[in-house]
C-alpha cells in the first residue's frame, strides 16, 4: 500500500516537528528555574570560583538556546560534560545528565521505565479486553440484568479515582483476604510469574476503572451499529448471529475504540504513575516526583520529554492503525 507508506511518512515528519516544538517549549519553561542547579552541585564551601567551574562543567554558562541545541545533539549523538579525566560521557540518546545522582538521565529512565510500562501496558490490554467484551455483552443483553450490572459498574468506575480504588483493593485483597502481594516489583527477567503476580492488583485496579468508559463507549456504539442496514444484510446473507455480531458489528466499533484509545494514552501514563505510588513501586513517577523535590532539573526535563515523546509516538501508531482499520479515512 504505497498510499499508506506516504501517510506514515507524512505523519512521522509532522510528529518530529511536534517533538521539536515541544522540546523547545519545555526547555524554555524549565530553564526559567529559580534555583541554580550549579549552586546545588558545587559543594559545601561554594566559592565563586567553584561555582563558575561547576557552571562550566554543566554547560550552564551557555545561552539557553545553545543549551537546547546541545540537548538535541545529545539525543542524536550523545554529549560529553567537562574535559580530560573528569569528563562525563553521556551516550546517545542522551536526555541530559543528573549531577546530583551522577548518572545519565537516559540510564535513570531506562531503569524505571519497565515498572511504569509493565503497569500501563498490562492494564491497557486488560481494560481493552474487559471493556469491549463487557460493553458488547451489555449491548446484546440490552435492558437485562447483565446490561444493568455493566452500566452500573461503568458508572462507579468512571466516578472512582484510581488511587482510592487501589487502596481499597489493597485493603480487601491484600490485607483482609491476603490473596495477592500488595507492593513491590519483580523484574520480568527475574521471574515472569512473580512479575505478573505482583502486578495483578495494579492491573486489575487500573483496568477496572478505565474499562468503565470503554464499556460505555462499546455499548453505545454497538447498539448503534446493530441498527445499521448492513447488519441486516449480513443476516440476509445467511450469516450466523455470532458472525453478524463479531465480524460485522464489532468491526465497526473498533474504529471509535481505537480513536479513543489514542486520546487516552496520555492519561494511561498518568494513571500508571498514580498506581505506582499506591502500590509503592519505584517507577517513572517516583523518579519524577523525587527529582522535583531535589531540584534536579535535568531529570525533570528528561523524564517529561521522554514520556511526552513516548505518548506522541504511541499516538502515531494509533493514527496509522486508525487509517488501516477504516478504509474511508483517506491517506491522501
Amino acid at each position: 500500500m504505497p498510499d499508506l507508506v506516504w501517510f506514515v511518512i507524512r505523519r512521522l515528519l509532522a510528529t518530529v516537528l511536534v517533538m521539536l516544538a515541544l522540546s523547545l517549549a519545555v526547555y524554555l519553561i524549565f530553564y526559567a528555574l529559580p534555583a541554580d542547579p550549579a549552586r546545588l552541585g558545587c559543594g559545601k564551601p561554594c566559592t565563586p570560583d567553584r561555582l563558575e567551574q561547576a557552571r562550566h562543567f554543566m554547560q550552564l554558562d551557555q545561552s539557553t538556546m545553545q543549551q537546547y541545541l546541545q540537548f538535541l545533539k545529545g539525543i542524536v549523538a550523545g554529549r560529553t560534560f567537562g574535559e580530560g579525566a573528569a569528563a562525563v560521557q553521556c551516550n546517545a540518546p542522551c536526555f541530559g545528565y543528573s549531577f546530583p545522582l551522577a548518572r545519565p538521565v537516559t540510564t535513570l529512565i531506562l531503569s524505571r521505565l519497565p515498572i511504569t510500562a509493565s503497569i500501563a501496558i498490562g492494564a491497557a490490554v486488560l481494560w481493552l479486553i474487559a471493556g469491549v467484551s463487557l460493553g458488547l455483552g451489555a449491548a446484546l443483553r440490552r435492558g437485562r440484568l447483565f446490561d444493568r450490572f455493566a452500566v452500573g459498574f461503568a458508572l462507579v468506575g468512571v466516578a472512582s479515582p484510581s488511587f482510592l480504588v487501589g487502596l481499597l483493593a489493597i485493603l480487601v485483597f491484600g490485607f483482609w483476604l491476603n490473596m495477592v502481594p500488595v507492593n513491590g516489583y519483580v523484574p520480568l527477567t527475574d521471574s515472569p510469574v512473580d512479575w505478573a503476580w505482583h502486578l495483578v492488583l495494579p492491573w486489575v485496579v487500573l483496568a477496572a476503572l478505565n474499562a468503565a468508559s470503554y464499556i460505555r463507549l462499546t455499548r453505545a456504539q454497538m447498539l448503534e451499529e446493530l441498527n445499521l442496514d448492513h447488519i441486516t444484510t449480513a443476516r440476509a446473507k445467511g450469516a450466523g448471529e455470532g458472525r453478524v455480531v463479531l465480524l460485522h458489528g464489532l468491526r465497526g466499533v473498533l474504529v471509535p475504540i481505537v480513536t479513543i484509545f489514542g486520546l487516552d494514552l496520555g492519561g494511561l501514563l498518568g494513571g500508571a504513575i498514580l498506581t505506582e505510588k499506591v502500590f509503592s513501586m519505584q517507577g517513572l513517577g517516583e523518579l519524577l516526583i523525587s527529582s522535583v523535590g531535589q531540584l534536579d532539573v535535568a531529570v525533570v526535563v528528561g523524564v517529561t520529554l521522554f514520556s511526552a515523546f513516548l505518548v506522541i509516538l504511541a499516538n502515531l501508531v494509533v493514527d496509522v492503525l486508525h487509517g488501516v482499520l477504516d478504509p474511508r479515512v483517506g491517506h491522501a
Binding site: G285, I289, V303
Partner: protein
C-alpha cells in the same frame, strides 16, 4: 402536561424538568447540593463539632499500635465524628469537610476558567474555520492526548517556594484542562455554524460579533453547561490525584487527596483503614455526584458529545 404549557416553556426549562424526572440525575443533584453546602459551611460545621483540623490530640493515640487512634472505627466518638487522624490525632471530620471545601473550590474555579477559555477558543475555531480551525484543532488534539499529569508534577520545580500552591494548582489544572472542553465545544459549534440560520445571518450582513453573541452563544448554552458539568468530576479527581502524589495543596491545609495518600501506610498494615474510609468516601461521593448530574444534564439537553472524529 398540556401542550400549551410545553410551548410556553423554554428548552432550558424543559431540560431542567427532565433532570428532575431522571432518578439518577436527581440523586446526583442532591449529592452535589449537599456537598456544596457542606463545603461552604465547613468552618461552621467544624465549629459546631467543636474541633479544628490543626490541633494535635496525642493523648487519643495508642503508642503500642504505632500511634493509631485508640478505640473502634478510627477513634470515632461524640467529640470526633469521623474519628481522628493516626499519628497526629487531628480531627478527621474537620479535615474531611475542609478538605472537601478545598477540592470543590479548586474544581469550581478551574471549571469556570476552562469553560470560559474553552468556549472562546471552541466558538472562534468553529466560526472562523479554515486554517485557524485546523491549527487550533491540532493543538487541542495534542494537548488533550498529552501526559498532563506528568507535566503538572514537573512544573512544581520551577515555581518559587513563596508562590501559593492552590493558585498553582488552579493554573496547572486550567492550562491542561481547557483543551478537552474546547474540543467538545468546537464540535458543537461547528455543527451549528453549518446550519442554515447562521448562513442566513451571515449572508444578510450581520457582523461576526453579532452572529457569535446572538446566534451561536444562546444556542450553545445547553451544550456548554453539559460539557462544564461533565468536566467537574475529572477536575476533582485530577486535583485529588496531584495532592495524593504530594504536589498539590501543601500541609497543613486539609486536602482529601493528601489524607488518602497519608492513609496508605495505615491501609497496608491494616492498622487504621478508617483513615482511608472517611476522606475516601467524601471524594468518591463528590465525583459520583457530579458524574450523575453531568450524565443527567446531558440526557436532558439531548447533547450528543462526539468524542470520535
Amino acid at each position: 402536561m398540556g401542550s400549551e404549557v410545553v410551548s410556553a416553556v423554554s428548552p432550558t426549562r424543559q431540560a431542567f424538568r427532565r433532570v428532575r424526572r431522571d432518578r439518577s440525575a436527581r440523586l446526583g443533584a442532591v449529592l452535589v447540593v449537599v456537598l456544596v453546602l457542606i463545603a461552604i459551611a465547613a468552618p461552621l460545621l467544624a465549629k459546631l463539632e467543636g474541633q479544628d483540623p490543626y490541633t494535635y490530640n496525642i493523648g487519643l493515640l495508642d503508642p503500642l499500635r504505632g500511634n493509631a487512634p485508640r478505640g473502634a472505627v478510627g477513634g470515632l466518638s461524640g467529640d470526633h465524628w469521623f474519628g481522628i487522624e493516626p499519628l497526629t490525632g487531628r480531627d478527621l471530620f474537620a479535615i474531611a469537610v475542609l478538605g472537601l471545601r478545598t477540592s470543590l473550590f479548586i474544581a469550581i474555579v478551574v471549571t469556570l476558567v476552562t469553560t470560559v477559555v474553552g468556549t472562546l477558543v471552541g466558538i472562534s475555531a468553529a466560526y472562523f474555520g479554515g486554517w485557524y480551525d485546523a491549527v487550533v484543532s491540532r493543538l487541542l488534539d495534542f494537548l488533550f492526548g498529552f501526559p498532563s499529569l506528568l507535566f503538572m508534577i514537573a512544573l512544581g520545580i520551577i515555581v518559587p517556594a513563596g508562590f501559593p500552591r492552590w493558585l498553582l494548582l488552579i493554573i496547572v489544572l486550567s492550562v491542561f484542562g481547557w483543551a478537552g472542553l474546547a474540543r467538545l465545544i468546537r464540535n458543537q459549534a461547528r455543527s451549528l455554524v453549518e446550519r442554515e440560520f447562521v448562513e442566513a445571518a451571515r449572508s444578510s450582513g450581520s457582523s461576526g460579533w453579532h452572529i457569535v453573541t446572538r446566534e451561536l452563544l444562546p444556542n450553545l448554552l445547553g451544550p456548554v453547561l453539559v460539557i462544564a458539568t461533565m468536566a467537574v468530576p475529572g477536575i476533582i479527581g485530577a486535583e485529588a490525584g496531584l495532592s495524593f502524589l504530594g504536589v498539590g495543596v501543601p500541609p497543613p491545609t486539609p486536602s482529601l487527596g493528601r489524607s488518602i495518600s497519608d492513609s496508605i501506610v495505615w491501609v497496608y498494615t491494616g492498622a487504621d483503614p478508617w483513615f482511608l474510609a472517611f476522606p475516601g468516601a467524601m471524594l468518591f461521593l463528590a465525583v459520583l455526584g457530579f458524574t450523575l448530574l453531568g450524565d443527567g444534564v446531558r440526557d436532558a439537553f439531548d447533547v450528543r458529545l462526539r468524542r470520535t472524529h
